[in-house]
């Protein structure tokens, strides 16, 4: 069969295009994240006792873990906007890194483990608030990634959407670390996982529909 009519139409519609550039995508996301972090500090949301906080091992555990997860998943997500890149293997490595980070955190600050102690440590009312704030802080990078994903050509939309969600969620949690009043590793592991998990799931199920091409 000949596709002449379609080819004619596409040829008539042809205009010069500006090529997608990896570096530009990285810069856009970096600017969004930097502006968000700057505004966060400028608005005075950071904890007032920062000098004491930086001496806590859990602070560095959170900062390093979340920065690592955010960087890796963000880089993999941007790479997977190219149709030839499959994010599957990257997701498996990322899952391993997340598991290592969680285990490491639980090891550095094991507390009492009785049922009452665990319920008290989890402090669900504050935990829900923390998760909500993390989700809100994840939105700017999530939107930025979403726009770039729509402009790109991911051929594994679900995998890419999951990576985008993880990157945005980890960044939101990273920013929130500077305001979080809790240092208990169990609390952090559970509620940060809840917040990040919700963002990742929303991204995983919503973005593939928006990025259909």
């Amino acid at each position: 069969m000949s596709y002449d009519s379609l080819i004619n139409r596409l040829t008539e519609d042809l205009k010069p295009v500006r090529r997608r550039r990896l570096g530009l995508d990285v810069m856009i996301i970096a600017v969004i994240c930097a502006v968000e972090l700057g505004l966060f500090f400028a608005a005075g949301f950071a904890r007032s006792n920062m000098p004491a906080m930086v001496q806590q091992p859990t602070f560095w555990w959170r900062i390093v873990s979340l920065a690592l997860i955010s960087l890796i998943s963000g880089a993999l997500a941007i790479l997977s906007f190219n149709p030839t890149y499959s994010p599957r293997r990257g997701i498996r490595w990322l899952a391993l890194i997340i598991a290592i980070c969680i285990v490491f955190g639980l090891c550095i600050g094991a507390g009492p483990l009785g049922l009452d102690a665990i319920i008290r440590r989890l402090n669900w009312q504050n935990g829900v608030q923390c998760a909500g704030k993390m989700i809100a802080l994840s939105l700017p990078p999530l939107i930025g990634f979403g726009v770039l994903m729509r402009r790109g050509a991911p051929t594994d939309r679900r995998g890419t959407a999951l990576l985008v969600g993880l990157a945005a969620a980890a960044w939101g949690a990273f920013v929130f670390v500077f305001a979080c009043p809790f240092d208990d590793p169990l609390y952090i592991t559970v509620w940060y996982s809840v917040g990040c998990g919700i963002v990742a799931l929303i991204s995983r199920f919503a973005l593939p529909r928006l990025a259909r091409w």
Binding site: M1, Y3, I7, L14, P16, R20, N82, A153
Partner: protein
């Protein structure tokens, strides 16, 4: 004004030579720059390649739709092609993506389940007749049986049967005539025995 390399190549190769990877790349770069003539050539070549790709992977009725869908996708996403990378894998990734997408749609599409007690025609009689005919043909001379199979069963012309068997046209006609006569006699003998 000097002619760009890709345009010089495209003009020189319009005669229908087989494209190499660097040719594909040059065409795509030209298309990204907005060269309509080269783009038409690229889409035509890609369309032919996609047809071959999908004929091996999809039901024939779906091939044209799939090819058109990829051509549209290529048009929409042409800015994502990086000229420092080969064009073939980029195109193949898009074609594969659209193929998997189509398979998902096929899987999700509702299928009407056939009931166990649905009535169907009984093919037993036809099978039995075919078997009886084979037995009768085996009792003919091989040259007669062969031309009867080709002309009366497979629908070839006398000339085609002659070319295939190496017999002359008149010999084919004679063998068919004698073979059919012999078959009639065999059937009559069997009927008389019953």
């Amino acid at each position: 004004m000097p002619v760009p390399a890709y345009l010089a190549w495209a003009r020189a190769s319009w005669g229908g030579k087989r494209l190499t990877e660097s040719d594909w790349r040059a065409l795509m770069v030209a298309a990204q720059a907005g060269n309509a003539g080269v783009y038409r050539r690229l889409l035509t070549e890609v369309g032919a390649w996609l047809q071959r790709y999908y004929y091996r992977r999809l039901p024939a009725a779906m091939v044209d739709d799939a090819v058109q869908e990829v051509l549209l996708a290529l048009h929409e996403k042409r800015h994502t092609y990086d000229p420092s990378q080969p064009f073939g894998p980029w195109l193949a990734a898009i074609a594969r993506y659209k193929w998997i997408d189509r398979l998902r749609v096929m899987k999700a599409a509702s299928m009407e389940e056939l009931s166990d007690d649905m009535s169907v025609l009984d093919h037993g009689e036809a099978v039995q007749s075919a078997r009886s005919l084979e037995v009768l043909l085996d009792r003919l001379k091989p040259a007669q049986a062969e031309v009867i199979r080709l002309v009366k069963l497979q629908g070839l012309s006398i000339e085609e049967a002659a070319a295939r068997t190496g017999q002359t046209i008149s010999l084919v006609k004679v063998n068919i005539h004698r073979g059919l006569g012999r078959l009639t006699a065999l059937v009559q003998d069997q009927t008389d025995e019953l």
